[in-house]
């Protein structure tokens, strides 16, 4: 079975370490915040200028001046700090964020990522995604492995305009957890009940399959 959105978030959350500063993108990455293990502390960075994002406010505590990068009303966690957009991207670009999780349309064997633009469709913009992928060393991309029509999104070469070049090393799809190194995807883990053949079939880019590929446990 392919992983659900929640299962993808649960698996990503296992990459969190105590004391990590983490930036979570919009969509599935945001769900990771729901699965932070009880025994560790992480601080969420929101690129509009908040380090230490707390839960959504209660109805009576909603404040128009307190939002996250998804423009949702949020609260500040204990020990949070708030700053300008330039300061926020100094943290991001300067490599101070320990883990970045974001979505993508395509990734390829060279660690390229395309996530912001589909030519001939309305282009809304890259927001902070280009800064995030250029600045972070530790990035996990969450995405579906293939399109609804079965076309692979893990490619030898991205077909869409890039968000960043050579910056992705870890990809978690609904079918598998993979690393990117030396011009290939390396299959590290697979979704429960998903065969290696199916993953091979849905991975266009060069894929290295080790002798033993464990299933992700939940």
């Amino acid at each position: 079975m392919a992983l659900s959105r929640e299962q993808i978030a649960i698996r990503v959350a296992r990459e969190l370490q105590d004391g990590f500063y983490v930036n979570l993108g919009i969509g599935i990455p945001t769900l990771v915040a729901n699965y932070v293990p009880d025994n560790i502390e992480v601080m969420l960075q929101s690129e509009n200028g908040l380090l230490g994002m707390g839960p959504f406010p209660t109805d009576d505590a909603v404040d128009a001046d307190m939002i996250n990068a998804g423009k949702q009303t949020v609260t500040a966690a204990t020990g949070a700090s708030i700053f300008s957009s330039a300061e926020s991207f100094a943290m991001i670009r300067g490599g101070h964020v320990d883990l970045t999780v974001l979505g993508a349309f395509e990734v390829d064997v060279l660690g390229n990522i395309a996530s912001w633009m589909i030519p001939n469709k309305l282009i809304k913009g890259m927001g902070g995604a280009m800064d995030l992928v250029a600045g972070a060393d530790n990035i996990i991309v969450t995405m579906t492995h293939a399109s609804k029509h079965g076309d692979s999104k893990l490619l030898n070469k991205c077909s869409l305009p890039l968000t960043g070049a050579g910056c992705i090393k870890k990809v978690l799809t609904d079918l598998a957890f993979l690393e990117i190194a030396n011009g290939a995807f390396i299959l590290k883990e697979r979704a429960p009940g998903v065969s290696i053949e199916e993953i091979m079939d849905k991975t266009e880019g060069k894929l290295i399959v080790p002798d033993f590929v464990p299933e992700i446990e939940f």
Binding site: S46, E47, N48, G49, L50, P55, F56, P57, T58, D59, V62, D63, A64, D65, M66, I67, N68, A69, G70, K71, Q72, T73, V74, A76, I82, F83, S84, S85, A86, S88, F89, I92, R93, N112, M117, L122, I123, K124, G125, M126, G127, G128, A129, M130, D131, A134, G135, P161, L162, T163, G164, A165, G166
Partner: protein, 233 residues
Amino acid sequence: MSGFNKVVDSYEEAMAGLEDGMTILAGGFGLCGIPENLINQVKSSGVKDLTIVSNNCGIDGFGLGVLLEDRQIKKMVSSYVGENALFEQQLLAGELEVELTPQGTLAEKMRAGGAGIPAFYTATGFGTPVGEGKEVREFSGRSYILEESITGDFAIVKGWKADKFGNVIYRHTAQNFNPLAATAGKITVVEVEEIVEPGELDPAHIHTPGIYVNRIIKGNFEKRIEQRTVRSN
């Protein structure tokens, strides 16, 4: 106005000198911390062919979106746009030019512009459409692109409190691009919720020192929320 007192009493006075073809830097992220009333004054002034530098372009009927209604914007420099139908319509009709700029690069362009730095190298956008045609230089084995900074004829800024000398503090995440825009306008206009006497704000807590600010005005704000999200209990 005398000495360092920068308070003006009307929005006409606040935006006096604005002309067709000018560049305006605007603070705000989404609808958070936007200079609502200064934007409305730009609209009622009727100036045209504006270049607007702002992370976003408001929504239909609110924020910078109102400047689309009479086609006052010639060009937007933003990281994320198109939350409004009118924007999409004018973009597709070729009536509006958009220069999409990564959010961190946009912030740094304003910061650098205000700080007298004409350009800077960043890895952001290298190897992407953003880097096309830009100078590339390698530092320590990594490639960076040269990005030019931005200044504006006007900067329009939303603060929380200011003293009469133009020292400004922002509230929560309504800070965002505001202090950066404030540094980079030839004329910087700040509208705030409260104006206090000099000395009432702690000097160590000032976000934007008054030296950057030309005009201060007290406004009333709707503070519309784009995505109201709450938890139960």
